[in-house]
Subunit: 245 residues, 2 copies
């Protein structure tokens, strides 16, 4: 329900392996894992791996969308901007998440790596062809899209109706859930994104985010060992602060 990214997450990601398809969103859908050797070879001939350092633009809002991507390693943010530079981060993407699902022929948002990242890249025409041949792939994508819509609506509730304190607490709970999905403790939250990114995700300013972090910390609800990590000390208090739906 309240998933972390606005883009579709395929699965709690497992540690990266050698075969690029192993961590690919396409992997765990039977349509792909059940491919015969021929189809599999054909697929690997179509996809191309993409590696990018941290803070690299993968594609930009408005440019022709000729590829779709799956994150296989690293963390990515997707965002939209207004002419004057105001920015809204619409999601943080983790391994297994899918980018490029959109309705016409241009990207609806920009995508930028936060950490060094690996992608599985697929030309859009190839995806279309693949979808026609592999009904289970389309089924899977529809499920992911459906899940993403629910997450987007949850985010709208946050942006439209929650206070700064509630937004930050909700964000920490989402991050905590993501940590659980990665097999780590829910208490230890890794935050690979900057305070500015968090602010742009929550519709706040960095100053406000910082103040609310400090506030939660001084109330001993959380602890902040360093800028990239948060420990939850008191989950019930954090739930209350988030104003659970």
């Amino acid at each position: 329900m309240s998933q972390f990214s606005v883009a579709a997450r395929s699965l709690p990601h497992s540690p990266h392996r050698t075969d690029p398809c192993e961590t690919c969103a396409v992997h765990d859908i039977a349509a792909c894992s059940s491919l015969n050797a021929d189809d599999r070879r054909r697929l690997t001939s179509i996809i191309s791996p993409l590696r990018a350092g941290p803070h690299r633009l993968i594609f930009e809002e408005g440019e022709p969308a000729d590829h779709v991507f799956t994150v296989t390693d690293g963390v990515v943010k997707i965002y939209k901007t207004l002419k004057d530079g105001r920015r809204q981060v619409t999601g943080f993407l983790f391994p297994g998440d899918f980018l490029g699902l959109l309705d016409n022929n241009v990207y609806a948002y920009s995508a930028e790596t936060l950490t060094p990242a690996h992608f599985c890249r697929l030309p859009r025409p190839a995806l279309e062809a693949l979808l026609d041949e592999l009904p289970r792939l389309r089924q899977r994508l529809l499920g992911m899209a459906s899940h993403e819509i629910a997450a987007a609506q949850e985010q709208m509730l946050l942006l439209g109706r929650k206070s700064a304190r509630e937004r930050v607490a909700s964000f920490l709970l989402m991050s905590s859930k993501a940590a659980l999905g990665d097999g780590r403790s829910a208490k230890a939250i890794a935050l690979p994104m900057s305070r500015t990114d968090i602010a742009d995700y929550l519709g706040l300013t960095t100053e406000t985010v910082s103040r609310k972090f400090t506030q939660l910390s001084s109330q001993r609800t959380i602890e902040i060992p360093d800028h990239g990590h948060v420990c939850v000390l008191n989950f019930p208090a954090l739930w209350r602060a988030a104003g659970a739906s």
Copy 2:
């Protein structure tokens, strides 16, 4: 791109006709319109029409989602609420729009009619079965979901980063586009929803919405003949007020 509802819109709606399938979202996808007599009869035996007066709850967030719906006539709002009553309208749905697309077995939002409305109702198991048999139906739904995600992200940008004035102007432009889709003039906007609904959609209060309406009106950007209608007098000014992306 900036579509009006967060749910998927299938087509600009045409005046309602006698055959319920004519205005159904399922109608205009070849998969359905190309059905043979047998399949068609089977479909009509599965779907059931639903009529509801104005301001009726169709389903509520959290309850078991045993049906999906298509709006065939009227206007519907979908929304999420917090425990204390704060509400976020996530979309206004018009004929052709689809409700009930979600990831697990409960509705992710509530749905309520604004006007008297007609629905085409389909049990979820039946939908699943149908999707397996009609690949083009799934293709169509994926396209609708994809479009909906783009709209949701646009709304996040509005909620997270736009001023009250920009939100109201953006809302009027969306409504204007919807009017065009209905074959009416872009200048004459019908607003079947209350100021409270608009406020809950824009993350504002009714007072603020009212003030911004008045402001735009006194600047001769719009005219407000009555509570349910708005005329655009100056589109360039409205675009500027919306702070075009």
